[in-house]
Symmetry: C2
């Protein structure tokens, strides 16, 4: 199935649930019969963009390359799903403008929960100053002001998060046939209300 | 129309006709009803990969990123056409191995013809040592040993070149319905003969 395509862009601190949700959303969208590609900022950095460091310019260069890939995919009818910390609001907004059909999903999770969940201890090490460039700890993480979808990944289950995204995609008419398993009319009304407040519908 | 996809990779020195032929082939393939993307190494370098210089590693990094884009496109049924000097044989061979369905087109043209055609005088400047990193002059250009298509762009017209590529794509069964306007059975037999000699059919 091909459709006018779009990009779903997950932003959030390390450990906030981006990769899990990217994979779940991907599977759901493929299950609906669409062509879909997932792009993981960290993996792309480790393979193709190894030479890039962590200055603001280098972080943005990595994101701009991913955005270019989304553009190539979208204009060929393929849905792109990106998981990227993408800490700079301005960079995300430029990507939004460039891509046009762009859904920003903010995975929000309180720092203490992130620290507790973090098996690699990256966050604690950053807090102690032993690791640099960790967004939200010792490097900037600028939360989105108007994300189409705001997920509280500490309290909402992964299934609930995916349903929220799918419901949003349906309301915005990006994915008219997106089915969600567990959403009530009341819950859907809350999402609509929010999109109305933000000026998206 | 979607098909099992592939990448056509044009290699050759600056001024050898890559961009012209990429554009012509692109139009022809779109005309057949396929989805197709063209990627120009020089343009990608100027926009996304500005920070890359011209060491062997940097040239290869640029090519590997383009190859990654081809991979994304191909696995979604979209034909990719690349125009890239891509001077290193080894890098091209690694890309060939990675992509699998890969047609290498060598745009070959004698240096004196390239110099005569070169309106920017880049080649002459390089010959005088005023410009660095010009493949084939003061930087390596390693010709392909077994390109699927060898074009002599000094003597073959652009239309003849495109026909040669399309005929090759048909014989190799990448593009079964590729029609060519002017090829005779005898000319086609020459192409088949060559592909047989190279072990491609």
């Amino acid at each position: 199935m091909t459709a006018e395509s779009f990009t779903v862009w997950f932003t959030g601190m390390t450990g906030s649930g981006k990769s899990t949700l990217v994979a779940m959303l991907h599977d759901h969208i493929v299950g609906l019969g669409y062509q879909c590609e997932s792009l993981d900022s960290g993996r792309i950095r480790q393979s193709l963009n190894r030479s890039l460091g962590f200055t603001r310019e280098e972080i943005e260069a990595n994101l701009m390359r991913i955005a270019y890939e989304c553009k190539l995919l979208n204009r060929n009818g393929i849905i792109a799903i990106v998981g990227a910390i993408s800490p700079y609001r301005d960079a995300r907004d430029r990507i939004r403008e460039d891509l046009g059909r762009f859904i920003e999903v903010h995975c929000r999770c309180p720092l203490e929960v992130l620290v507790k969940r973090d098996r690699s201890n990256l966050l604690e090490c950053a807090q102690r100053g032993e690791v640099e460039h960790v967004a939200g700890i010792n490097a900037p993480y600028e939360e989105p002001m108007k994300p189409e979808v705001l997920l509280n990944t500490d309290t909402e289950s992964p299934d609930a998060c995916v349903n929220k995204i799918l419901t949003t995609l349906r309301i915005l008419e990006y994915l008219p046939e997106a089915s969600t398993s567990a959403y009530t009319a009341a819950e859907e009304e809350i999402i609509k209300e929010r999109l109305r407040d933000l000026g998206y519908i």
